[in-house]
Amino acid sequence: MTGKISLEFPSEYKYLNLVDALCNGIIRDIELDPKTATEIAVSVIEACTNALEHGNKSNPAVNVRVLFMWDKNRFAVEVYDCGEGFDYREYMKNIPDPSDIDHIRGRGIFIMKEMMDSLSFEFSDNEGMKVTLEKVISG
C-alpha cells in the first residue's frame, strides 16, 4: 500500500473543497479509522487555508501545491505556497490559547500540531514555504 498524488490549485477558498474531496477519497481508499481520517482531513484544510491566505495572500494568480504520500506505516502531506515563510519556532513559543474567545483567528497551527504526529515548516528560495504533516497509520 503505497501512493503519491499531487494537486495544484489557485489561491481561492472555493478550491478547498477539491482538496477536501481528494483527501477524503484517498483516506477512504486506504481505509483509515474514522478518528485518524478526520484528524488528517481537518489538518490538511488548515494547512491549505494558511497557504492560500497567509502564504499567497489569496492571490488567485498564485497556486498552492499539495502532495499526498502514503505507505502502510505513514500518511504524509506536503503543502507548498509562494510566501516568504515565517519563524515557526518563535510562533510556537507564543501560540495563542485556542480556547481564548478574544482571539477570532490563529488556531490553525495549534489544531495541526495536536491532530498530527509531526508538523514541520521549511522555507527554501526554490520551493517557497513547505508545511509537512505526518501521521503514523496502521495499514
Binding site: 484544510i45 477570532i104 488556531r107
Partner: protein, 112 residues
C-alpha cells in the same frame, strides 16, 4: 456558506449550509448576527447540520457570533455538530464554551 432564518418559541434558528470558512462568510454571518440584534433577537441557535465542512476560520466566525451575542446579554448555541466540527471544538477546548445540542427541541427548551 448560505443561511436561512427560522423562529420557534421566541428562539431564532440559523440553518447554515455549505462550507463555513474565512473570507466573505465572516462578513455574511456577522451581518446576520447584527441584524438579529437590531430586531431584539438574542436567543440564537446555529444549526450546523448542513455544513459540509469547516475550518478554524469557520470556528472563528461562530466565536464572533457567540461573543457578540454574549456582550448584548444574549446567547448562541450550536445544534447538529458533526464529528469533524466536534473534533475541532474538542482539540481547541471550545467545547467548554459552546453549548451543543443534538436535538432541536432540546436546544429550544434550553432557553426557557
Amino acid at each position: 456558506m448560505k443561511y436561512k432564518i427560522r423562529e420557534k418559541e421566541g428562539v431564532v434558528l440559523i440553518d447554515l449550509s455549505g462550507k463555513l470558512m474565512g473570507g466573505s462568510d465572516a462578513e455574511l454571518f456577522k451581518d446576520c448576527i447584527y441584524d438579529l440584534l437590531e430586531k431584539g433577537r438574542k436567543k440564537i441557535i446555529v444549526n450546523l447540520g448542513k455544513v459540509t465542512w469547516i475550518n478554524s476560520a469557520g470556528v472563528g466566525i461562530l466565536i464572533t457570533g457567540y461573543t457578540t451575542m454574549r456582550k448584548k446579554e444574549g446567547d448562541l448555541k450550536l445544534l447538529n455538530v458533526s464529528e469533524k466540527i466536534k473534533s475541532i471544538l474538542y482539540v481547541t477546548k471550545l467545547n467548554l464554551i459552546f453549548d451543543c445540542y443534538e436535538d432541536e427541541e432540546d436546544a429550544i427548551e434550553s432557553y426557557s
